[in-house]
Amino acid sequence: MSEEHGADPLHIPDAPHRPGDEAGFVEWPWSPGDLERPDVDCDASETVALAEGLVRVLGDDNKSSGEWDPKLSTEEMITGLEHMMRLRIFDDRMMKMQRTGKLSFYMRSFGEEAVAIAQTMALKDQDWLFPTYRQPGAQFVRGRDMVSMICHCIGNEMDNVKGRQMPVHYTYREGRFISVSSPVGTQFSQAVGVALASGYKGLDEVTITWIGDGASAEGDYHYALNFASIFQAPVILNVVNNQWAISTHKNFASKNGNFAVRGLPYGIPSVRVDGNDFLALYSVTAWARERASRGLGPTHIEVLTYRAGAHSSSDDPSRYRPSDIHSHWPGGDPIDRLREHLKETGGWSDEMHQKLSEKIDSEVMAAYKEAVKFGDLANGPYPSSDAIFTEVYESPPWHLEEQWDEMKKWRDS
């Protein structure tokens, strides 16, 4: 029979920092201007440096430079800054609501505000968004009313998904923001289908989707890359590498720590981008959109960022990582970086920033007060429980009609 070997029984990875450890990261070797911006019709093999490196535009000196600089106007940058600030203030308010029992659950985008906002701003209105629960900010770009977002999170009478989904599982068809599902990764391969349908219909629509570093271990991620590559789908496939899936460090999702390069053997042009650099994100996404729109197929993007907060209101990250770790992230904070850049270029000041922050704060408070008029979690009113039975099918079959009557009997007795 087999003899025993002398090595460790199994290789089990670990996270680089655990509670009590001094947090720190290796300084990034990548600077703005390092990487060329290839023609959009390039081959996957011409993107090796882009996948192995890191596309940055904003430097440590707060200036923008390099071929990837999207040269946005001051107004466009201020719009992006405002959306990011809105998302952060909104998240903080919602988290307070959760802590006081007004929401059952919440998830912030803290530290990752640039991701969905810069990327959605780089798209056109007809493009489809297929998000995870960490991209709600895209809805601000698409003009969603904040009151309706809060009503969804409460699950009150005005919740457009009728109290069926947990908070932050938004649906916003008007903004082409497709319904969020809890099982991680499922949207990634579905997005390829959305994109192929647009192609079939001959429409200039691009689909963008996101998946976490952790969820890239699901089969759906690999289905997506293969189908997108085989059928040359007009899709932008983003792996948001925020380093953590609840307590699971990205070392359990990738041996070498680079997710971008995984697109290359599928023949998909692949890029890694600084996810806290608004301008770099915007630029890479615009490049990917142009590729898709010109029939050149999918682009695979690793968005390198850091989950600054807890996974959700149910999570306590101090149990598995140093509490101050995000403050050491070499990518800094996305809002601070764009603010400092705007100050550097002369379009912004601390006073303007403060004023905007106060304006958003009142806007969020007003929206919150308006939303709770339609009911809060503790006291209702809730959506009618008739919504349990509607839209299960296009129309309820006899057995649901029967059970619906029975439910009403109990509810109304």
């Binding site: 199994l10 271990a217 609840i246 359990f252």
Partner: protein
């Protein structure tokens, strides 16, 4: 005997088996370092080493497939699927692979894997953190299916599941991790002081296939499993009818003898589960009961179940069977 809640008794069962059998190996999402999102594996990695208790990538299909491979090569893996709602990427591996390998290989390979998974509603989890998918597995030959309901039976059944040489799907009613659930979300007791929370520290097992008679009576047989056992207990008290309450514990293979014996005594039967009605395990039981007990039955068998709809978020109390619905069904069986 120490008083444990169900998180502690599951943890204690896992600890007991890691200590007794070096072939027992455990993994799952957030399972190792963190100790599980429900804390059921808290402290086990520190105690038994990270090569025996570890985190896995987020891949339920990968978890099941890897456990399968370890199982056919002599280990006894115990894996966690974080929520039963997330088991479906693993469904192919469970249904087509684990369940059939003993048979397909002419008995040359077998798969002693235990898949633990928190199931059921009552935590405002919406449709992806609340489902109770036991019937999706009872319909698969080759799998054993267990659903615990108390700290005491959680430990005893889990030890049996791990020691069993067939694949076992082990459902833990998450609503009952920290206390029995009687159907009133505004009045949630803990396990403290409950007789079923007296859990020995030492190894013990409850045989798979054996039901528990939770209450003894004479006028009706109420059959349930998981969190609904406690709802039934409250309903029986409300109804004023003297009932046997059978906590099935194992769904495959189920304790037909105990059920038949009880119905021959009472002549009436109510089956309660929180999973949807259509093709629920209650349907299988009702069919078997009429085959065996037709001449003993004094009234039609009643079923009280979740609706045939997705599980809602805000209005979950209009979905989950409560004591009132169960009590009314009990009363109905008493009509002549």
């Amino acid at each position: 005997m120490p008083n444990m809640n169900m998180v502690e008794s599951v943890n204690n069962a896992l600890d007991t088996m890691l200590s007794r059998d070096n072939d027992v190996i455990m993994f799952g999402e957030d399972f190792g370092y963190f100790g599980g999102v429900f804390r059921t594996s808290d402290g086990l990695q520190d105690k038994h080493g990270k090569h025996r208790v570890f985190d896995s990538p987020l891949s339920e299909g990968g978890i099941a497939a890897t456990a399968f491979g370890m199982g056919i090569n002599g280990l006894r893996p115990v894996v966690e699927i974080q929520f039963a709602d997330y088991i479906f990427p693993a469904y192919d591996q469970i249904v087509n692979e684990m369940a059939k390998v003993r048979h397909r290989s002419g008995g040359e390979f077998w798969c002693p894997v235990t898949i633990r998974t928190p199931a059921g509603g009552g935590i405002r989890g919406g449709h992806h953190h609340s489902q109770s998918p036991e019937a999706q597995f009872t319909h698969t030959p080759g799998l054993k299916v267990v659903y615990c309901s108390t700290p005491y039976n959680a430990k005893g059944l889990l030890i049996s599941a791990i020691e069993d040489n067939d694949p076992v799907i082990f459902f833990e009613p998450k609503r009952c991790y920290r206390g029995p659930f009687y159907g009133d979300p505004h009045n949630v007791p803990t396990w403290s002081g409950h007789p079923e929370a007296e859990v020995p520290e030492s190894h013990y097992s409850i045989p798979l296939g054996q039901a528990r008679l939770a209450l003894e009576g004479s006028q009706c047989t109420v059959i349930s499993w998981g969190a609904m056992v406690h709802v039934c207990e409250r309903a029986i008290a409300e109804s004023g009818v003297s009932c046997d309450l059978i906590d099935l514990q194992t769904l495959v293979p189920w304790d037909r003898e105990a059920v038949v014996k009880s119905i021959e005594k009472t002549g009436r039967c109510v089956i309660v589960h929180e999973a949807p009605k259509t093709s629920g395990f209650g349907a299988e039981m009702a069919a078997s009961i009429q085959e065996r007990c037709f001449w003993s039955l004094e009234s039609p068998i009643e079923r009280v179940t979740g609706w045939d709809t997705p599980f809602p978020h805000t209005t979950e109390w209009d979905y989950m069977p409560g004591p009132d619905r169960v009590a009314a069904a009990i009363a109905k069986t008493q009509e002549d």
